[in-house]
């Protein structure tokens, strides 16, 4: 019986998490467009529904009913699966993210995480590395120069920044003493790690931006040089999947940031879920703000930043953290 | 060879070159209005002012007035000269109206160009503009005198160059007016050149009026096919219609100018004002079909006939307006497929005359029109230049301007734009007049120096003939001919006897052997008659023989390639009957001829403006006409429909040679022939020398260095035999109204001369007739009714009947006739 209940719970959690994620992603698009509008002293979408609230719906319908076009010379199978990879990776990551305090219904503690892996962080990092396949394969399969260039840039960029991203999390693990995300949250009971590890936080934030291909790190797309980069040849819902993937990964990264540095669901007074969502949303909003503010990096600057700045700083940070911990005897 | 420096560039030019021309050779275009190479320098406009810095002249001088001399240093960009030219433009513009938008010259206006280039943009003159009233100058030339800048080009061209007096300057000062004393049509048949010569829009041509701007035109070098001379033209097309034809400078043929027939007679290619006159679509039995269907029909019918009756049951007709390509294709098809023909001329006598003329030309004696201009004695035998070859008359006028003596031996009431001595000899006497004139010019000493053939020929020439008939002393003329250095004989091939072309050649030869630089120029009947004579063998059948074979039923099919026997053959009734016996009549043409209307299969062919084609002019000059436009039913004149089509309406036509090739349905016809050039060379050995591989050939001459056979002993006495009683009725050509493309040109309709029968006034008085009577000329059955025009300046005993529209001369039964006096009745 328990396992049935567990399954039901799991499925319910999955459905809820996925639909919320998709909903968030959809409205994140609207929020981004609205915000970008305001950043640029204009209105943003305001035609579909009140304040443009139905815009994501319209966009969705549009994307679905648009012709799904596959170039004649494309590698059809890979071409069709690549967007799915991009969209699936951040979804799978959510499996290990705890989004609230444990819920107790009728004496039963239901953990508000789909599955609490004890190597959660490794899982996250491993999956995050998978996202590069979507981009690389999509670009390669399109059989177009622009796409291929975008894909190459994407692989290089993602691999570079993964390194500093992983390294930036080492101090977090060191402090929490566990790879489990729930443990990490719990470790921040007294103090969120952002205060303890600001350098890690900054490195993680920058790397996260780069991982999600957001401006100023959108070199794989860079529509003014590469016409859209790896997704040049995509249209319709397949293009939509790339889109959704990007926004979902933005939210997921926000959630991870919340978990790693902002203390997860922990917060005073208000319910823990609310705190979690609030903290999660902060990061995408910051991303949007960044997009409105910063221009795209040049490719060499991008590499320079990743390898020559973030990586050494992260290493130094680990050493310093380790030293302090040894010294403090934690 | 003076050397001078213009704008720091040194150049050596021949003596007598004007500074303005020297600069042009360096690529420096000094502005000018009154200066024109053909008209010379007069220094009226003062626009070509340049500064002479060193040399025999100093300061601002007109570059058109000064011959280049050694040591001159000239600056065209000197500030003083530039300022002066700018001021001249300002002066010229103070009265020029503000009407460029409604002026047809806009876009091709020298004044516009010079004004813009001088930088004059703002009118500073505070006074009012002078105005003039315009005149009606006929259906070709529009007059807008307000635009005049008084460069005198028009009056100089009109009076000095072309020799007509009815247009010129009136008044003085700034009231100067160029026009006629009384309004009316310009008398000159060369009036169209006023349009070209005028540097601004005073004279604009009416057929192209308001239809198009120069920059919208498709322009290509073309050749005029209205008469044999092959004047060079530029075809101008727009909206699938030929809008205007301009003269193209060719120093050897037409110079800068063109006659009105050639210039304004292009509208046959547009099918008239409503485009309906030209047959645009293929037809089978009068019903419109596609080209493919018509091609298939004619080729299957032809092979059927060839299979049943043999290939000699098929006969091919060509004409004097075929291109050389079409002629060669016709000739090749007839040879390879065994068809009869090709028959080029309906009049076999004309064919023989053309043939003997072409045979006798050689490069030592044949002159171009340009060379006629430098002659000092011109004998025109049996040719009415103004009517048969208008630009040749202009060439002779240039000789006349240089004080050449001109003698015309012709029965017709000739009028020419220069002074000439007219010996009104009847056709049978032309030879004897010519002969005695030439014989009289050979002095005893010269005679001794001649070789035996020439001596024998000279001795056989009749002595002293023509004085009595003309009242002109032939010996006196002969003395002048003796004194001349460069005499030219211009010989017609129309009304003259069959032996005359050869005699003219012999005479020219004799003059040459007596130490003169003698020349010979033939007037031939059509644009391509020279090449047709080269293409056909001596045993070619005449059209009359063909006709009787049709009547006997041995010929079943006739292919008429741009040929209309109904126009050319004098017995309409017989032709009518004979052609209706045919099984198949294939007509290939671009004109709405009678033959086209009766054809069982009709295929539209391209006009000279719609294809690349080649023509050979009477001095053997091969000239290439380039395609001007693709053709099709013209757009102008009606609102173009909003239809998106992938074909051109009326664009079915193709060159006649291509149609012929296709209906021959045999690829073997072109076997071993790769290019058109090789095709022509294979048919016409003379063409070989021009370098067939470089087809298209342009401006090469295909006459031999030395002609075969010369000094045929002339008949000393005319055949006395049975001299028919009465008047010799002669068919002649007339400008605008009798040549084939012209009569289908609606632009020329307004200037068709009135149909008339010409007769000597004393003959008329003897018959009790007077000028202006409508007479009936009785023929075997039926009669021709026509107005009578009497003249004293023509031969007695002949009647001259122009083959023009409005005269039903096709009732004549033969190409000339003898009419008894009593058969000419007043009605």
């Amino acid at each position: 019986m328990w396992w049935i209940l567990g399954l039901v719970l799991l499925i319910m959690k999955l459905i809820i998490v996925i639909s919320v994620l998709f909903g968030f992603a959809a409205y994140m698009v609207l929020v981004e467009r609205k915000l970008l509008g305001r950043f640029q002293i204009r209105y943003g979408p305001n035609r579909v529904g009140p304040f443009g609230l139905l815009q994501p719906l319209a966009d969705g319908i549009k994307l679905i009913i648009k012709e799904d076009f596959v170039p004649r010379t494309a590698d059809r199978l890979v071409f069709l699966t690549a967007p799915a990879v991009v969209a699936a990776v951040p979804l799978v990551i959510t499996a290990v993210i705890p989004f609230s305090d444990d819920l107790t219904i009728g004496g039963t503690r239901i953990p508000m995480v789909i599955t609490d892996l004890n190597i959660g962080m490794l899982f996250v990092l491993a999956l995050a590395s998978l996202a590069v396949y979507g981009i690389a394969l999509g670009g390669w399969a399109s059989n177009s120069k622009y796409s291929l260039l975008g894909a190459i840039r994407g692989s290089a960029q993602l691999i570079s920044y993964e390194l500093s991203m992983g390294l930036s999390l080492v101090p977090v693990v060191m402090l929490a003493g566990s790879f489990s995300l729930v443990d990490i949250v719990n470790a921040q009971e007294r103090l969120p790690f952002i205060l303890v590890q600001p350098v890690s936080f900054v490195i993680f934030l920058i790397s996260a931006m780069a991982e999600s291909n957001r401006i100023p790190f959108d070199l794989p797309e860079s529509e003014n040089e590469l016409i859209g980069g790896f997704h040049t040849e995509y249209s319709g819902m397949r293009f939509g999947l790339f889109f959704v993937g990007e926004y979902v990964s933005m939210i997921v990264l926000g959630a991870l940031t919340a978990v790693f540095f902002l203390g997860g669901w922990r917060g005073p007074i208000l319910p823990s879920l609310f705190w979690f969502l609030l903290k999660t949303m902060l990061i995408p909003l910051f991303f949007i703000w960044t997009r409105a503010t910063l221009p795209r990096l040049r490719y060499d600057q991008l590499m320079h930043l990743g390898w020559k700045f973030l990586l050494p700083v992260a290493l130094v940070n680990i050493v310093v953290t380790g030293g302090v911990m040894l010294f403090m005897g934690w | 060879m003076p050397r001078l420096v213009i704008d720091d560039l040194e150049i050596e030019v021949p003596k007598g070159t004007k500074v303005i021309d020297a600069a042009e050779r360096l690529g420096i275009m000094i502005p000018r209005f009154c200066y024109h190479e053909a008209l010379g320098a007069v220094g009226a406009c003062r626009m070509c002012a340049v500064k002479f810095i060193q040399g025999p002249f100093k300061g601002i001088q007109m570059s058109c007035m000064i011959d280049a001399q050694d040591g001159m240093i000239v600056s065209t960009t000197d500030q003083e000269a530039v300022d002066f030219r700018k001021r001249v433009i300002e002066w010229l513009m103070i009265n020029h109206p503000h009407d460029c938008p409604v002026c047809d010259e806009g876009g091709q206006c020298l004044l516009q160009d010079e004004t813009v280039s001088s930088g004059h943009a703002r009118r500073r003159y505070p006074g009012k503009k002078r105005t003039y009233r315009n005149q009606y100058l006929g259906p070709f030339i529009a007059h807008e005198m307000n635009r005049c800048i008084h460069c005198y080009r028009c009056s100089r061209y009109y009076q000095e160059f072309s020799g007509y007096r009815d247009l010129g300057p009136l008044q003085i000062g700034n009231r100067l007016y160029f026009g006629r004393f009384k309004e009316g049509r310009l008398e000159s048949p060369y009036s169209g050149n006023l349009v070209d010569i005028c540097p601004t829009g005073v004279y604009t041509d009416i057929p192209a009026r308001y239809k198009v701007r120069r920059w919208d035109l498709q322009r290509s070098p073309s050749v005029c096919i209205h008469c044999a001379l092959g004047c060079n033209t530029i075809g101008n097309a727009h909206y699938r219609a030929v809008m205007r034809v301009e003269a193209r400078m060719n120093p050897y043929v037409n110079g800068y100018f063109l006659c009105d027939e050639g210039r304004f007679g292009f509208s046959y290619t547009n099918g008239g004002a409503d485009h309906a006159q030209r047959p645009w679509t293929s037809k089978i039995g009068g019903a419109d079909v596609t080209v493919e269907a018509a091609l298939a029909e004619s080729s299957s019918k032809l092979s059927e006939i060839a299979a049943v009756y043999g290939p000699e049951a098929i006969v091919a007709l060509g004409s004097a307006r075929n291109s050389l390509e079409t002629q060669s294709m016709l000739s090749r098809l007839c040879r390879r497929k065994g068809w009869l023909g090709p028959v080029w001329f309906t009049d076999t006598a004309v064919y023989r005359k053309v043939r003997s003329a072409v045979e006798r030309l050689d490069s030592g004696i044949a002159v171009s029109m340009r060379e006629i201009e430098f002659a000092d004695f011109v004998i025109i035998a049996g040719a009415d230049l103004l009517n048969e070859a208008p630009m040749a008359a202009i060439a002779v006028r240039q000789a006349s301007r240089k004080n050449a003596q001109i003698v015309v031996i012709d029965p017709r009431p000739i009028s020419l734009p220069f002074e000439f001595r007219h010996v009104p000899a009847v056709p049978g006497q032309i030879e004897r007049c010519l002969g005695s004139l030439v014989k009289g010019s050979i002095s005893k000493e010269e005679l001794k120096g001649l070789d035996s053939a020439a001596k024998g020929f000279c001795k056989a020439l009749p002595a002293k003939f023509g004085d009595k008939e003309s009242g002109i002393s032939i010996p006196e003329l002969a003395d002048q001919l003796m004194a001349s250095r460069r005499p030219v004989i211009v010989c017609g091939t129309g009304i003259v006897s069959e032996s005359t072309p050869a005699l003219a050649a012999d005479c020219a030869q004799l003059l040459r052997e007596s130490g003169k630089k003698a020349g010979l120029f033939y007037i031939l009947p059509g644009a391509s008659s020279f090449s047709s004579a080269l293409l056909s063998g001596p045993d070619a059948k005449g059209f009359a023989e063909i006709l009787s074979e049709i009547e006997q039923g041995s010929i079943k099919a006739l292919i008429a390639a741009e040929s209309d026997p109904f126009r050319d053959f004098p017995d309409r009734e017989r032709l009518d009957k004979a052609l209706s016996q045919l099984d198949l009549l294939v007509a290939i043409d671009y004109l709405p001829t009678e033959t086209v209307k009766r054809a069982s299969v009709f295929l539209p062919s391209s006009t000279v403006f719609e294809m690349n084609s080649t023509f050979v002019n009477p001095e053997g000059r091969v000239q290439h006409a380039e395609r001007v436009h693709a053709g099709g039913v013209p757009i102008w004149g009606a609102h173009p429909p909003r239809i998106v089509r992938n074909f051109i309406p009326g664009g079915d036509h193709q060159p006649a040679w291509e149609i012929l090739w296709k209906i021959s349905a045999e690829t073997s016809v072109l076997e071993s022939v790769l290019t058109l050039g090789e095709l022509i060379a294979a048919e016409m050995p003379a063409f070989e020398a021009t370098g067939k591989a470089q087809y298209p050939v342009n401006q090469a001459r295909i006459i031999p260095e030395k002609s075969e056979g010369s000094f045929v002993k002339p008949k000393t006495r005319p055949e006395q035999g049975q001299k028919p009683k009465g008047f010799n009725l002669l068919l002649t050509d007339r400008i605008f109204a009798s040549r084939e493309p012209s009569v289908y040109a609606d632009t020329l309709e307004g200037v068709f001369p009135e149909p008339a029968l010409f007769m000597h006034s004393e003959d008329a008085a003897a018959a009790g007739l007077s000028d202006g009577d409508t007479v009936s000329v009785g023929l075997e059955p039926g009669s021709i009714e026509v107005k009578l025009s009497v003249s004293e300046r023509m031969a007695r005993g002949v009647l001259i009947l122009p083959r023009q529209k409005g005269i039903e001369w096709q009732r004549m039964k033969d190409f000339s006739a003898w009419i008894a006096l009593e058969r000419i009745r007043k009605i």
């Binding site: 509008g37 204009r42 | 409604v102 003039y132 009026r209």
Partner: protein
């Protein structure tokens, strides 16, 4: 030591630079948008804005266009086609005049070239259709019943060709020269 200091200084400068730009965008976030809500609010455009083309008439109500072909010559997209014709009184007019608005880029060169001020661009820019052939505007569609921007200009009063008024009756003209008179 000094060098290290300058590296830190540089870093600080960079961070401050970043912060500055973030501040700017943040400030903009709270400004009122300057967007005009176009279909709801239509702004009055200046008369010289370059929109749909018209053919105007002169003060006497006649077509101004004299079919001089300058507009079609100057048109960079070749969207104007004309054919000129002549009325009995000598006045030139376009027999037909067609503008393919599907090709027109509203550059206004035709208006600049027009010597009679006939062709003019209007502020009407909302110009879209479903069919490409509907963009073919003929003379009947283009011709309007007013003078457009230049109310009083009448080309034929200046031209010097006798269409409106005889020779010498136009603006700034002397009476015609009498060529048969000897009097000055």
């Amino acid at each position: 030591m000094a060098k290290e200091k300058s590296v830190l200084r540089d870093l600080l400068d960079d961070v401050m630079g970043l912060a500055d730009s973030y501040a700017v965008t943040l400030k903009h976030l709270f400004r009122k948008p300057i967007t005009e809500q176009y279909p709801d609010f239509k702004r009055l455009l200046p008369a010289r804005s370059r929109g749909r083309i018209i053919l105007t008439r002169d003060p006497e109500g006649e077509e101004r266009c004299v079919a001089c072909y300058l507009c079609s010559a100057v048109c960079p997209t070749d969207c104007i086609s004309i054919e000129g014709a002549e009325r009995k009184d000598g006045r030139r007019y376009p027999l037909w005049f067609r503008i393919n608005f599907a090709r027109c880029i509203y550059c206004g060169m035709c208006e600049e070239a027009c010597p009679t001020l006939a062709i003019q661009l209007t502020p009407d820019f909302e110009f879209s259709k479903y069919g490409v052939l509907d963009f073919l505007y003929e003379k009947e569609d283009l011709l309007v019943d007013h003078q457009g921007k230049n109310a009083d200009y009448d080309y034929y009063r200046h031209a010097g060709v006798s269409v409106e008024g005889d020779k010498g009756e136009h603006i700034n003209e002397k009476p015609p020269v009498d060529v048969k008179s000897n009097l000055p």
